[in-house]
Every structure is written in structure tokens, then in C-alpha cells.
């Protein structure tokens, strides 16, 4: 969330001039930079010379500047979706890892072939199943787990390609040969992070990057876009990126890639299948979707046909695919090809399907469903890494050599009980690469994630990629969670470097467009609630500030209005005083502001603003986002020590100004698109409700001396200056009511909000609305007319039938109006946002006992 948390990358602070002078890779392993005699490998030479020329101080400075620059441009390393709400740092090392053109050529050919092979396997298993008929692989590999999607068997896909993107985790053994550790065929992640890493590192070392002639990544993405486009016959196909949502660990990457590639980011609930076509639900109606780039697991994609308990999927998607009306990349069911059990069969399959020998070997792997392999694994158990044979299984890989005797025996009996569920792999002694750790360059084990995308007659491999390194020199576990990090991988080019970039499109003129574009309903819903929460926070903060000021000012004659203000604040934040506890006025305020657990409470409201804003971040300018970011620091958290009133006042002041800045920027810098309108509709409804509630809480019950109370109401509603100018100091109820209810020129009055709502709603009906006013418009018109017709003098009248005088007229009208505004919010949701509600599975029951058979 904050800059300090964002990155704990290591700035280079080497003092003896040469970065690698103390670098000592472990003997017996392959090191990417140094050969076994301690000499720098030739393709690193130029890079190291350039770094030396730069010098450590300059390198350090450049690194910091690049990070700052990237941050200013809105790229952060925060990974959203941590259930705890904590943004995890993305750890990037400042030194790239380098590969020579020759090394790369072999690796590239291997990855491309492997992608072709896995694609051919999928095409066979979802088609003629020759591999099964000819007994090249046993049926358990296909049918013995949940990865083969039976409803997709026999379903043709465009171009007979099922694997549009592929990623391989590749490691290098002590002999210098690359092996594939894992295949990713379902929804390979990492391309977004690769792009980001490249952007940071190339900005920090622009001249080094250029002089080393590093192959560019953008061409890969261009090919990738062409591939996706080619999956549809339509001229301008609509392509969407389907994400499981913000709670997914790689959500940040989904959002980032969608923006980079120019695709709409959608969740399952944004899509709907009608008549076997897939549509995106936009405010303006349904828009046909031609290609879905999915980042969601196979079986979650259709709750009807595939996984019944999936809340994320699109019911009917399989049928749409079946009808050929939508292409899904990668094809549904492609997860089948990443089962580790398949690895040991790949050389034979490669010869059968491609008539070629496998170029890039897999890590030596043994599927225990095969008797011979099982015996080998059991005989050599302590030297094995044991994995679940079929991915999707919950078990993590087990490094047998780290196990106690008992645990090892337990593993052994587990394998013997259900052998086909296990795969044993030889342990790979991964190569090392230099990583800057604190002030020294140290060796760390390395795994590369390489990406490929299908092109017309094969696969195109991204030159370079995401390298990840282990947390310590003696750990082979390469994981961000265990203290590891990532590196940029540079492939050095022999020839000229293709300088294509998405960021500077040349040649093609851009078509000028002013339409804000249509808006997915889900985004409209988020903006609507962002507006409501933001306004709610503001209203509550103003009220709280009114209380604080009165509490602090000893000379203030505050006895009369304070209880009323307190009860208004408690009501608006749904605060329920804990029974049997007595608070001082000060203590009570702290309770209401910082410790109220209710969803309408102050902490929850601020939390909601941040959460929702993060969801619609791509709709807001960087400045607005920065303001949102500040909310977090503006306000004290409830911890052990209570903040003093003295601290609370500036905190509230800051918060009010921050929120006002949000309003101002939204007003000034957002185009008048649907997005802005929904944000504003939310704000207007909330403000109208807030103003009416404030009046209801303060002016319905009549207190002895109303002057100070009226003053505080005007102050809270930010209308005191105008009032003073109009009426000097004569504080009376009717003019206050007029100003806050009916005065359409006062931006704080309820009527003003309704006029704005009327304008918005009139523009929202796009089609299907027919003639006349929509339901939301009717409510607004009725409310506004009521307000215009209301007789302010009557409303101000006090009736004291009981001992406690009240303004009954006012009470009656305000109650109705508040109720109608709440309903307006619901009706708007129903009219425009109705389909965002969650989906449920019909009870899977057998028929209930029913009528008797009546014949015979």
C-alpha cells in the first residue's frame, strides 16, 4: 500500500568497484555467469564492463530513479488479492540474467517443439484418441482424474489448435543442459510480470540494455494478439480477458495484461450466454464476445456443464464453444496436457504424433501407475521429488531427502496404496546466477519461465522471460513466498534488434473517438458504490468534526446540541452502544469513529472505498488513485492507545480535504462517460439521503435553544457561509430547511441532488426502454416535485401534543423521502445492474415423492 512496503529490491551498493569480485558460485553446479574455472562467460563480458563503467553509485541511483519512475507511471508491484488485504511485494533483482544467442536458439527450438507436441496431444485426446487406441499411453492418464473434460470430447476448435499460450518452467542441470521441470498448458501466468520486470530493468539500464542488443518482448505480444484475433472470423472481434477476480493471486497481472493488449477485463458474471452466443453485459446492452482469453481454470468455466460448485463460470459456455460461436484460449480442457504423469511418455508420443525426437527433455520422471517405474521410485525414494501425478490435486511436491524416516515410510505406503496418483522425479541441481543481496553479489538457484504462443505454422517463443531465484544458496525451492525473487532474463541478439513497441505505434493513424465507450455493468455497479461510500465517509467525517470542535472548545456553549449531534452520528454509522458501558463524550466519539464494527461504520466505509477503488482502478486517473491511496494514511487506526481529540481534529480535517479532492478531481478530470455518471449517481443519492437524515435527526425533535444546533447543522452541511450572507446571523428553522432541502442552487441541498440525478438518468436509457420515463426517473421526478411543492413554513411548525415538542410534518415527509431514496438505489440496481447478482446451483436432487400412478 505504501511506497516503503512496495518493494524490497536490493539496491546495488558495492564499494570495491567490481560487482562480482567476491562472487563465488558453489563448485559442481552450473553457474550462468562464471564457468568452472572462475572465468566470466563470454556473453556476460560486455554487460559487466558496462556496469563497471557505470559504477556502483550511479547504478544505485539509476535503480532508485527507475523504480520511482515506474511507480509514478502507475505500475506498482502490489499484488492484489491477498485475503488478508495485504499487498505482497514483488521482489525484483536489479541484475538481469543473460543468455547468448546460441544457447537461446536451442532452447527456443525445444520450447516451440514442446508446445507443438502438447497441442497435438490435446488434439488427439479430445479427438480420435489414437494415443489410447495404440496404447502409447495408458487410459488412466486421461480418464483416471478430473482433468479430461468429457463434454469437450469431439468438440472441434478453430484451426484445430487448443494450446494458444504455453509456458514451461525450465531449469539447467550441472551438465549445462536445460530440462523442463513443469509444463503450463491451462492458463499460463507470468507474461505480465515479465513485461513489468523488463520495463523496470530497461529503464534503469537503458544504455546497457541497448548496447547489449537485448531481444525485445513486444514482437511476441504482437504475434499473440494476431493469434487471438485469428480465432474469430469477424473483422473486428471482441476479445476479453476472463479473470477469476480480484482475489486471485495473479489478478494484478490480468489487469495489467488486459490494459497492455487492449482487451476488456471481465469476470464470469460479466458474461452471459444466449442462444449459444456469449455476450458481455454492458450498460448499453449486450455485446457479442468472440474470443475469451481465460485466466481461469478449465473446470470453473461453466458451472452447468463442468464444475457444479463454480460461482465464477459462465453457464452455457461449453454449448457456445460447441456451436463454434466463441473461441476460448486456451481451449477448455487444455489443462489435461500439464499432468506430470504425461512427462515420461513424451519422447514416445513425440515420435508418434510429430515423427520427431524430443529436443528439450523433461526432468527425469517416473509415473508410479507403471509397475516398473513404481519399483524404481520406491527403490530410490530418498533421492526423489514426489509429486501428485495429476495437477489440480492439492498435495505439494515432497522433497524426499528432507523427510524423517517415519515420514519417508508414510510416503512409501501412500504410493503403494494408490500408485497411479504419484510421480517421482529426479532431483535437479539447478544452476545459479548472480543476485544482489544487500551489498554483495551472491549465487542463487534459478528457474526460467518461458512463454510460447501459437502462430500460423508452429509456435513463437518469447525471447527471454521471467527468471525466479531461490531464497538461499542451499535451497532449490524457487518461490516468492519463501523469500525468493525474480529477475529479468535477457536474450542477447547476434543480429539487429526488432524495435517494435506497443507503446509507440507508428504508421497507423489513430481513429479519433470521443465516446467514452460502453461500460460493463459490473464496473458501473462498483463505481456507483464507490460514489456512495465516498460521500458517506465525507458526511460522517463532517459530522464527527462538528462534534470534535464542540468538545474541544471550552468556551463553546455546547450543552444543548451535542447529544443531538452524537445521536445523529450514531444513527448514520449504525453504531450500537455496548450495553453496560459508560463512555466519556470523548471516549464515545473514539468508539463510534474507530471501533464500530458495523458495515456502515466509519472504518468499514473507508475500507470499502479502498477496496472498490482498487477494482475500478483502470477507470481512474493516477491522481485520483493517489488520493485514494492517501485515505489509508489519513486516518488513525484503532489500536491500543486512543488518539486524543487534539489528533482527531487534524485527522478529520485531512480526511475531509482528501475526499473533497477526490470529488474535485472526479468532477474535473473524468470524461462525462457512463463511468463518471454512475460514480456521480452514487454520490448524489448518498448525499441526498445524508442531508435528509441529518435534518431528521437534528430538527425533528425540538430542543430548547435551537440557535447553536442550527449553526452546527449548517456547518456540517457546509452551508454556513451562504446562510450568513443571506440572512446575517438570524438563525431560524424555515430558512435553514429551505437551504438544505429545496434550494436547487445549493449544491448541498437534497433538491440539488435530485436535479443532478434527473440529468443523469435521462441520459442512461439507451435502448429497450420504450417511451416515457423509466422507473428510476419516476421516483426522482416524484421526489423533486414533492420537494418543490413542500411548504417550508408548515414543515418548520412545531407540534407539542406530548410533553416533547416535535416537527411532525417534517418528520413524516423526511421519513417518506428517505425511504424513497433508498428504494431509488435498489431500482437503479435492478434497472441497470441486475445481472451482477451471484449465481447459484439448483438443488441437485432426485425427484421428490409425488402423485400416485393412477392407471390400472
Amino acid at each position: 500500500m505504501t511506497l516503503q512496503q512496495e518493494q524490497n529490491s536490493s539496491p546495488p551498493t558495492v564499494s570495491d568497484g567490481r560487482l562480482y569480485s567476491s562472487y563465488a558460485p558453489a563448485p559442481g553446479l552450473y553457474d550462468e555467469m562464471m564457468d568452472s574455472h572462475g572465468a566470466v562467460r563470454p556473453h556476460w563480458q560486455m554487460f559487466l564492463n558496462l556496469l563497471d563503467d557505470l559504477g556502483p553509485a550511479k547504478l544505485h541511483h539509476r535503480w532508485e530513479t527507475a523504480r520511482q519512475l515506474i511507480h509514478d507511471n502507475g505500475v506498482t508491484y502490489n499484488v492484489y488479492g491477498d485475503p488478508a488485504g495485504m499487498d505482497r511485494p514483488w521482489h525484483l533483482d536489479s541484475l538481469p540474467v543473460l543468455f547468448s544467442a546460441a544457447e537461446w536458439a536451442n532452447l527456443e527450438a525445444g520450447v516451440a517443439q514442446r508446445a507443438r507436441l502438447l497441442d497435438a496431444i490435446l488434439e488427439d485426446l479430445y479427438g480420435p484418441q489414437r494415443l489410447l487406441a495404440e496404447k502409447i499411453i495408458p487410459p488412466e492418464l486421461v480418464f483416471g482424474h478430473g482433468l479430461f473434460l468429457r463434454p469437450l470430447h469431439g468438440v472441434a476448435v478453430p484451426g484445430s489448435r487448443r494450446l494458444h499460450t504455453y509456458a514451461a518452467d525450465v531449469g539447467r542441470g550441472p551438465d549445462g543442459r536445460f530440462v523442463v521441470l513443469m509444463d503450463r498448458t491451462q492458463a499460463p501466468s507470468g507474461t505480465g510480470y515479465t513485461l513489468e520486470n523488463r520495463m523496470v530493468v530497461s529503464r534503469a539500464l537503458p544504455d546497457v540494455f541497448r548496447d547489449c542488443r537485448v531481444s525485445r518482448l513486444a514482437t511476441f505480444f504482437r504475434r499473440f494478439r494476431e493469434t487471438l484475433k485469428s480465432l474469430s472470423n469477424r473483422e473486428n472481434p471482441r476479445i476479453v480477458l476472463l479473470t477469476p477476480g480480484p482475489y486471485n493471486e495473479t489478478y494484478f497481472e490480468h489487469a495489467y495484461l488486459a490494459r497492455y493488449l487492449g482487451y476488456t477485463l471481465v469476470e464470469g458474471a460479466d458474461l452471459i450466454v444466449r442462444d449459444n452466443y456469449v455476450y458481455l453485459k454492458m450498460l448499453g446492452g449486450l455485446q457479442r464476445v468472440d474470443v475469451i482469453l481465460r485466466r481461469q481454470d478449465d473446470d470453473f468455466c461453466d458451472p452447468l456443464e463442468l464444475r457444479a460448485d463454480s460461482a465464477l463460470g459462465i453457464p452455457g459456455l461449453v454449448q457456445a464453444v460447441y456451436s463454434g460461436n466463441v473461441a476460448v484460449a486456451n481451449a477448455l480442457g487444455s489443462g489435461l496436457a500439464e499432468t506430470p504423469a504425461l512427462m515420461m511418455f513424451l519422447p514416445a508420443i513425440c515420435r508418434r504424433l510429430l515423427d520427431e525426437d524430443l529436443i528439450l527433455p523433461s526432468v527425469e520422471s517416473f509415473w508410479c501407475g507403471n509397475a516398473e517405474s513404481r519399483q524404481f521410485v520406491l527403490d530410490n525414494l530418498s533421492r526423489m521429488v514426489i509429486k501428485p501425478a495429476f495437477v489440480g490435486s492439492r498435495d505439494k511436491p515432497v522433497f524426499a531427502r528432507n523427510l524423517s524416516h517415519d515420514a519417508l515410510e508414510k510416503l512409501r505406503s501412500g504410493i503403494m496404496a494408490s500408485p497411479s496418483n504419484y510421480v517421482g522425479e529426479h532431483y535437479v541441481e539447478l544452476s545459479t546466477a548472480p543476485v544482489l543481496m544487500e551489498d554483495r553479489v551472491q549465487p542463487r538457484h534459478l528457474v526460467l519461465r518461458l512463454h510460447a504462443t501459437c502462430v500460423e505454422n508452429g509456435y513463437c517463443v518469447m525471447p527471454g522471460g521471467l527468471a525466479r531465484f531461490s531464497g538461499s544458496a542451499d535451497s532449490m525451492i524457487v518461490s516468492m513466498q519463501r523469500g525468493g525473487g525474480s529477475k529479468d532474463a535477457w536474450v542477447l541478439s547476434d543480429g539487429p534488434v526488432d524495435s517494435f513497441s506497443f507503446l509507440q505505434p507508428a504508421g497507423q493513424p489513430v481513429i479519433i473517438s470521443r465516446a467514452g465507450g460502453d461500460l460493463p455493468s459490473r464496473v458501473a455497479d462498483n463505481l456507483f458504490w464507490l460514489g456512495r461510500y465516498e460521500e458517506r465517509a465525507q458526511a460522517n467525517a463532517r459530522l464527527a468534526r462538528g462534534i470534535v470542535i464542540r468538545l474541544m472548545d471550552q468556551n463553546f456553549d455546547s450543552t444543548a446540541e451535542l447529544p443531538t449531534l452524537f445521536s445523529a452520528l450514531a444513527k448514520q454509522t449504525m453504531y450500537a452502544e455496548p450495553e453496560g458501558r459508560q463512555f466519556s463524550a470523548e471516549g464515545k466519539l473514539v468508539e463510534i469513529l474507530l471501533r464500530n464494527p458495523h458495515a456502515n461504520g466509519f472504518p468499514a466505509t473507508l475500507q470499502s472505498i479502498y477496496r472498490i477503488a482498487a477494482l475500478v482502478r483502470d477507470r481512474m486517473s493516477l491522481d485520483i488513485w493517489r488520493i485514494i491511496n492517501r485515505l489509508d494514511g489519513d486516518f488513525p487506526r484503532a489500536d491500543k492507545s486512543d488518539p486524543a481529540l487534539l489528533d482527531l481534529l487534524p485527522a478529520l480535517d485531512r480526511l475531509i480535504i482528501t475526499l473533497a479532492a477526490f470529488d474535485g478531481l472526479a468532477m474535473e478530470s473524468m470524461t462525462r462517460s457512463y463511468a463518471w455518471r454512475f460514480l456521480d449517481i452514487g454520490r448524489r443519492i448518498e448525499r441526498a439521503i445524508g442531508t435528509l437524515t441529518l435534518l431528521s435527526e437534528t430538527l425533528v425533535p425540538v430542543v430548547d435553544r435551537e440557535g447553536p444546533l442550527l449553526e452546527s447543522v449548517l456547518e456540517i452541511a457546509d452551508s454556513i457561509i451562504t446562510y450568513r450572507r443571506r440572512y446575517t446571523t438570524n438563525l431560524q428553522v424555515p430558512p435553514v430547511l429551505d437551504m438544505l432541502l429545496a434550494d436547487e442552487s445549493n449544491p448541498r441541498s437534497a433538491a440539488f441532488q435530485l436535479v443532478r440525478l434527473q440529468e443523469h438518468l435521462a441520459l442512461l436509457i439507451v435502448d429497450g426502454g420504450g417511451a416515457g420515463l423509466s422507473a428510476p426517473e419516476r421516483i426522482v421526478l416524484r421526489l423533486l416535485t414533492d420537494m418543490r411543492l413542500a411548504d417550508i413554513t408548515t414543515l418548520g411548525r412545531t407540534e407539542d401534543a406530548d410533553e416533547k415538542p416535535r416537527r411532525e410534518h417534517l418528520d413524516r415527509l423526511l421519513t417518506i423521502w428517505i425511504e424513497e431514496l433508498r428504494m431509488l438505489s435498489d431500482v437503479i440496481s435492478r434497472a441497470y445492474l441486475v445481472h451482477i447478482s451471484e449465481s447459484r446451483q439448483l438443488g441437485f436432487q432426485l425427484a421428490t415423492p409425488a402423485a400416485l400412478a393412477t392407471d390400472s
Binding site: V273, A831, S839, Q845, T848, A850, A853, D855
Partner: protein
């Protein structure tokens, strides 16, 4: 036998729903011993129905309702001509144990998978049934049914639609679905391919469990002639008073209706089945048709349109329910 089956499903929601998507496996299968003469599918609120064959060769009808609605009604009426097993299939010569199948597509019908889960109790029971030596496969089928009826009690309300056979083995009680899963499990334990059938029984004058409901039984694979039906719930071989809707590995492959809805509500469902033997084929029989049933919808909301005023009351009610 010429049988007419009416299968009526009524679904009621506690509140307005914006979308229901359903998949039906209600059309009787076309098979050697069963000829579907007529199938009329009524659906309300009116919606477009599409059909296709699933990977098991079952006919599936799908539809979606995209207007606000509070209930869904499905009426499936079919007329089927059924035949008893003929001389050829009456006395199959297949012997247990079977050779491992060469056809890899039988793998699915041999594999123990939820809800037909492998468990110690299943292994134990299978051991009791396992023939000492070579045995007629038909005999083994009958023995399995006898054993189930000896040890298990037919009782409703003990198990649910999602119960696995582990639960059935524990309680020793269940309904047709459980008996069928159990028989499938035992057969597969003995390496006999077995599959699940959903359908109907026409009871006529006789007593049958599972008549006037959707029923379930199982089929065993005889390499010489194909699939032969056994009804463990009634402890009998399948005859011409059985009408098959769908086949699968287990219940989860063949529920008569499957669906997803969007909205904040709970649902209640009522199913009625009525079977009747027909004297002759009527001249005005319709081969296949779908027809709309009259079930109300409440305005179109999906296209950014308007909600009619009529709704306001309901909206308010819902709001109160949510608050209350």
C-alpha cells in the same frame, strides 16, 4: 409395451430471479429395445430450447430464461415402445471373470469415482460376492442384486442426492439411487463394466419401488451382446416396463434437470411422474415438439431497460426481507 410417461417439474423461487439456465436429460433414449415415438417438451416461461447429444449419447435439452421470473415449469411427455430382451440377449454366454476390455472407452465404467467411491466396506462386500471360480456373468449380476437386497433396507430420508456409497454402506439403507450406485460399485470391484441409468418404471398392476417417480437402475456390460439392465431396488432384471432416459457413470452424469440461477432467493421443486400403458399408437401423435407453457415474467431488465411499476411493491418487499 406402449407406454406414455408424463414428467412434470415445477420450480418456485422465493423471490424474483433474473436468470435461470437449465439442462434437461428427460427425453427417453433411442435404443434397440426402446423406440421413442413421441416427445413433447413444454417450458414456461416461454424460451428457446436447444438440444444436443452429450458425450454419453443422451439427448440434452437446454434453455435459459432471461426475464425476471418467480417460477419455472417443465412438462416432458413421451410415448415409448419398449421390448423385452429377445432370445439372443436372454441367455448371454459371457463368463466371469471378464478379460480386461480392449476398448478404452469402457475405462470410465470400471473406475470407482465419487459418488461410487472405493472404501473398505465396499471391498469387504465385494469379497463376499466374488465367485469362487468361473461363473456365468448373468448369474453374477443376479447374485449382486440378491446380496444387496439381503443386507440393505429400502428407506427414504436416510440418504440425500449427494450421498456416496460409503454412507449407504454405513447406514445399510437407501433409495433407488443408492442401491444402483452400490451395485455399480460392486460390479466394478469385480472388474465388470457397469453404468447408471435414469428412467421410469411403469408398475401396472404390480408393485414396484420407484414407480411414479424418476427411477434409477444399473446396466452391466456383456462383451458378447452389450449392456444389460438390472434393477437392484426391485431385485429384478429390466423388462419392457422400464423406460430409459439417460445413462452415465453415476447419478451426477444424468440428473433429469441441472441448472444455475442468478438472484437472491431459495428454490423449492416439485416433481410428478405419471405413467400409462396405451392400447395403440394414436393417429395424432407428435414426433417431437417443444411448446411454451404459460408462466409469467416481470419485465425485461437485461438490456438496460425499464422495470415496470408493478415491481415496486415487490422490490420493497424484498428490501424489507433483506433488512429483516
Amino acid at each position: 409395451m406402449l407406454v406414455q410417461v408424463s414428467h412434470i417439474t415445477e420450480l418456485d423461487y422465493s423471490a424474483l430471479i433474473s436468470e435461470t439456465v437449465m439442462e434437461l436429460r428427460m427425453a427417453p433414449r433411442q435404443e434397440r429395445l426402446q423406440h421413442r415415438l413421441s416427445f413433447v417438451l413444454g417450458i414456461g416461461p416461454a424460451s428457446q430450447v436447444r438440444s444436443y447429444f452429450d458425450w454419453l449419447g443422451n439427448t440434452v435439452h437446454t434453455f435459459a430464461i432471461n426475464n425476471l421470473h418467480r417460477s419455472v415449469k417443465i412438462s416432458a411427455v413421451s410415448v415409448v415402445q419398449t421390448y423385452d430382451r429377445d432370445r439372443l440377449t436372454q441367455h448371454p454366454e459371457d463368463m466371469w471373470p471378464l478379460n480386461p476390455p480392449t476398448d478404452h472407452s469402457l475405462f470410465d465404467m470400471l473406475r470407482l469415482d465419487a459418488p461410487v467411491v472405493d472404501c473398505p466396506a465396499l471391498t469387504e462386500l465385494a469379497e463376499k460376492i466374488k465367485p469362487r471360480g468361473r461363473e456365468s456373468l448373468a448369474r453374477v449380476g443376479l447374485n449382486i442384486m440378491d446380496k444387496i437386497n439381503e443386507e440393505f433396507v429400502y428407506e427414504k430420508g436416510i440418504t440425500s442426492a449427494s450421498s456416496t456409497i460409503a454412507e449407504v454402506l454405513e447406514h445399510k439403507r437407501g433409495v433407488c439411487q443408492d442401491f444402483t450406485h452400490l451395485m455399480i460399485g460392486l460390479a466394478r470391484k469385480l472388474h465388470i463394466p457397469a453404468r447408471y441409468v435414469s428412467g421410469f418404471i411403469h408398475a401396472g398392476n404390480q408393485q414396484f419401488r420407484g414407480a411414479a417417480e424418476t427411477h434409477a437402475w444399473c446396466e452391466l456390460y456383456f462383451p458378447s451382446i452389450g449392456w444389460i439392465g438390472y434393477d437392484p431396488t426391485n431385485n429384478c432384471e429390466v423388462k419392457d416396463n422400464f423406460v430409459k432416459m439417460a445413462v452415465g457413470r453415476h447419478y451426477k452424469d444424468v440428473p433429469p434437470h441441472k441448472g444455475v440461477y442468478r438472484g437472491n432467493a431459495t428454490e423449492t421443486m416439485k416433481v410428478e411422474v405419471h405413467t400409462m400403458e396405451l392400447p395403440e399408437i394414436s393417429g395424432n401423435l407428435v414426433g417431437e415438439r417443444t411448446s411454451p407453457l404459460n408462466v409469467p415474467v416481470f419485465g425485461n431488465t437485461g438490456r438496460g431497460g425499464v422495470v415496470p411499476w408493478i415491481l415496486e411493491e415487490q422490490v420493497q418487499q424484498q428490501q424489507q426481507q433483506q433488512q429483516g
